[in-house]
Amino acid sequence: MILKNIKLIVVLMMSMLTTSAVFAQDDVGLTAKQVVEKFQSELIAVMKDGKKLGYAGRYEKLSEPISNSHDLTKIARIVVGKEWEKLSEDQQQKLTDIFIRLSISSYAHNFKDYSGESFGFDSEEETTRGGVVVHTHLVIPNDKPVKFDYMLKEKGNSWRIINIIANGVSDLALKRSEYTTILQREGFEVLMTKINEKIDSYSKL
């Protein structure tokens, strides 16, 4: 009887461990292409429910998929370029936190409803520095498709998106120019204020 109970407990513990492992290592073991496709399908799913969810609902639903598929900490660092080193640890942490909020709210704002859009995979290629670029396109009914190229880097055991290039325009390069310019011309506090205002306007529009 005792043996049976121990067996049961072990089985239970094993299954719990497996479940938690699945949750904790959401995108572990996926290829770069799979990370992108998983994220895109999650995005489309949120768009389909977009109106019903509202901004807050979309933000909540997208939060985990975005954090699991993007390396937002690294992106936050790249977008301020060399200015990163001039920031205090406290400022670096503040910037990273607010940048994560901005990224999710930007998705929640821009992908608010669904009118038949779908993503298609084109190809993938390795870059010379160990990254992978996944080329996809967004099909929009009655409009020209938009090319979406995802640049991914390996972080631990998983692939993470660090840049998105839409029709040849790099989101990272764009943000980097904006952020470094504001830091150089107006300083850290102004950058924080501007990002906060942006998040605020995304939540209202």
């Binding site: 930007s106 160990g130 990272l172 390069a173 904006e178 150089q184």
Partner: protein, 281 residues
């Protein structure tokens, strides 16, 4: 996501017709001022450019936007689309000329087919029937031709009324204006073209305001990237791989504000990009 930005920048560039003389004057003036605060090597005249950007912005706020609002109210959507198609069709002649100058003969043949189809079955260009038959609109202009011939873009410039450009963009625009039949249709027709272009750009301009923290930098970066992407037919991989950028950040050797150099790429691997962006070549 900068989805609509390209078309907006394109449209701003399209608002060409008025003051090339002023443009040249500005370029001359720009060579003597604004250098001391430069932070971006592509934009050494940032201070002058910013001033011009704000001038254009105010001009848009107080003149172009209100007029365009009225125009939007009094004309139905199908009329605006028709007018847009008409001018877009006339511009095809310039596209075909530049196809030839860049030795894109297959694309030139298809663009000629597009022009003929839209000019006849498309009722003089008002209806875009060619796109439905697979003859998509291509964007080719003399600035791209100069790029293909190896002329560097030069510094970024914001021109009065016209908006974003580069040093190379000035002769490029002069050629395009000369090669566009609508230039010779008289001032009233050109005003309609301008008005319709501005009205069509409404959504894109709103997007810039919405997406950017610094609209000037946002416009400059998306313009330069978009032009580079067009000039290289999507082959350019610049700004895609930030790996070396991070390495340099760690070692602290990178100059602030310097442009990220493109990662070396195997062109054969990016062939599909050519097919996607310019399927008619």
């Amino acid at each position: 996501m900068p989805i609509n930005v390209n078309s907006s920048i394109n449209i701003r560039l399209k608002v060409i017709s008025v003051s090339l003389v002023m443009a040249v004057a500005l370029a001359a003036c720009a060579t003597t001022t604004g250098v001391e605060h430069a932070t971006n090597k592509d934009d050494p005249y940032e201070n002058v450019n910013r001033a011009m950007y704000h001038f254009n912005d105010k001009l848009d706020d107080y003149l172009a936007a209100p007029v365009s609002k009225v125009y939007n109210k009094v004309t139905p959507q199908f009329a605006r689309t028709g007018v847009f198609n008409f001018f877009s069709n006339l511009k095809n002649i310039n596209v075909i000329v530049n196809d030839a100058l860049q030795a894109k003969f297959m694309q030139g043949a298809r663009d000629s087919g597009r022009f003929l189809l839209n000019s006849t079955l498309g009722l003089g260009g008002f209806v875009d029937v060619a796109t439905d038959t697979g003859l998509d609109l291509n964007v080719e202009d003399f600035d791209q031709t100069l790029a293909v011939w190896g002329v560097p873009a030069g510094s970024y410039l914001v021109l009065p009324i016209i908006g974003p450009s580069t040093m190379r963009g000035i002769p490029g625009a002069a050629f395009d204006v000369a090669a566009n039949p609508s230039t010779y249709l008289g001032v009233p027709i050109q005003l309609v073209s301008l008005l319709n272009t501005r009205a069509t750009a409404e959504g894109s301009l709103k997007f810039i305001d919405e997406a950017s923290l610094d609209p000037y930098v946002f416009t400059r970066e998306s313009f330069l990237q978009w032009r580079n992407n067009l000039a290289t037919d999507g082959k350019s991989e610049s700004s895609m791989d930030f790996g070396d950028d991070l390495d340099e950040l760690n070692s602290g050797t990178k100059q602030s504000g310097a442009k990220i150099e493109p990662a070396p790429q195997d062109i054969s691997k990016t062939k599909h990009k050519l097919e996607l962006l310019a399927p008619l070549q």
